[in-house]
Amino acid sequence: MKSTARTYTLTSSQKMMIFVLSMSLYGLSNMFTELIPKLQLGPLELSVEYFAFIPLTLCILFHPFYAAVGAALGEVIFGELMLGQFGGLGELEKFLTFSLAMYIAGRMVSDPRNRMQVGAAAIVGVGIHQLCSTLVDIGKVWIGVEEFEAVPGLAESVVLIEGVSFLNTMIVSGTLFALLPTLYLVPRLYGKIEPLLGIRPREATTRYESVKVWTPKLMIGGVILALLAFGAESLSETDWNFGEWDSGLADRLGSGAIWLSIAIAAVIAVVIILIMRARKKRSGNDGSAETVPYA
């Protein structure tokens, strides 16, 4: 216990329980949502994207960080790896945006009994996640098609499709499978599920100890990411997209451009490996990587 009586320090095993709980439940639900048939109305897809209510409920009832990371990992493991649909690096993006969105939603609620807060958190949680993934999806096409600007109508189509799918997800997954079930579940589970894990129910005054994720390493990573995002933004402002850049190079340097791009890919791969290595060493040194739930 910290000096302030209000801070509620969870033991590492309680964190682990929340993590395991969130992972298995959301993972299971993910297997189902992968299988629920999608109703295709032209380009518009009416589908149950995910059962966001599960991580939302758990993030609201328990420490949001462990519930959020657990759920995101559950999706990767059950919904992707076990079904053989693991998208490799693409999952990293999902993992980050999803856990971030759920975490924020959980932090928004200070009193699980307050229905307004719970409802708002549910909508905002799904909203953040959908916004992020919409942007990423647009970005993928933008990077993947060299003459993005040159293809007439492509930009409009991408924005339209992604925009509609954003709205659709907000309405279907956001309302039917996030807002309503969360509003139904949180009050019913409040005070019931916590004792099963040996955890005190969250009160309006409860303050969880801050997760020590905001370490220098993460700060620096965040700053770099933000810079990158800003850089990409300004690139698009200046009518300078990767495609043009690439083909321009190809014109000037001929085959060299290909080798260059291979080299870049290789460098990126090596850098990633080095980062992973370094992280591993660091976590080996200080004994507990902060992002590891079982610290």
Binding site: S13, G42, M82, Q85, G88, R188, L196, A269, R277
Partner: protein, 276 residues
């Protein structure tokens, strides 16, 4: 319409469970799963990143062929391939049709085809590596490359707990059905029956959450008695877990073979810069 009806008739939760379990546990000991997971992951990293920087159609097509070959080698279940194709066609196909509306023409199909190729290469690479390989090996590989130990544990725990979760979910659903009332008529487009089942699917998570909460408590306690948290901080334990990973001649042959093939492609690509 008929499709929907069939879906409702054929699909039972047992069936789904079986299919999923087949997918999850069915991957046998095929050629690719004998390779060192670290090498496979590095191999994957290259093919997941490189295509985004390529624009030569020949190179892309060549890589695509390679991916098809490895996918066949890894004997992925047809179900996964089907899902993949559906996703690709859905995403890119509609993009194309819509762009026609916004003043595009048939010429815009080509860049989009290229996009499809890139996406396919990346997806097939991940399918080859991550579906063809035993998940335990994937997690060992990731652990070796520096992922936190919690991740690799969670993965194998997921494999352990899935059948248990399914059983429990099944009995909860059964409870709802045994004590509920199905809509008298399936409704327009089977919408009413669909809604009935969907609602049940959601509501069933209430009892499931409580039951799972009860279970995780024992699990975490038992983990403690078996030295799990101790092992997480113990470098020796990690070292032991990974000691079985060895780069063999087969791995080197595989990696250098692919590398040679890729180099050949780039060479041809350079000779015929078909950068449309």
């Amino acid at each position: 319409m008929q499709l929907v009806r069939n879906w409702f008739n054929k699909i039972s939760i047992e069936r789904i469970q079986l299919e999923l379990m087949n997918t999850a546990y069915g991957s046998g000991h095929v050629f690719l799963s004998a390779l060192d997971p670290r090498c496979m992951i590095l191999w994957y990293l290259f093919f997941a990143i490189a295509p985004w920087f390529l624009s030569n159609m020949i190179v892309l097509a060549g890589l695509f062929l390679l991916m098809i070959a490895t996918t066949v080698l890894s004997r992925v279940s047809p179900f996964i391939i089907f899902v993949l194709c559906l996703g690709l066609v859905g995403q890119v196909g509609w993009l194309f049709i819509l762009s026609l509306f916004f003043g595009g023409d048939i010429a815009s199909a080509l860049p989009l085809l290229k996009l499809t190729l890139k996406l396919s290469i990346v997806s097939l690479a991940s399918i080859t590596v991550f579906s063809g390989m035993d998940p335990e090996r994937i997690s060992d590989g990731l652990l070796a490359l520096g992922m936190p130990a919690a991740f690799s544990f969670s993965l194998s725990y997921g494999y352990r707990i899935l059948p248990v979760l399914f059983e429990e979910f099944r009995s909860v659903l059964l409870s709802y059905r045994l004590r509920g009332r199905a809509p008298a008529s399936p409704g327009f487009l089977y919408a009413r029956l669909g809604a009935y089942y969907l609602k049940m699917l959601v509501v069933a998570f209430f009892p499931l959450m409580l039951a799972t909460a009860k279970r995780s408590r024992t699990t975490v306690e038992a983990l403690e008695t078996r030295g799990f948290s101790f092992g997480m901080k113990n470098p020796k334990s990690r070292q032991l877990k990974l000691s079985h990973l060895k780069v063999t001649r087969r791995d080197i042959a595989f990696l250098s073979g692919t590398a040679a093939y890729a180099a050949l492609l780039f060479w041809i690509g350079a000779a015929y810069p078909l950068a449309i």
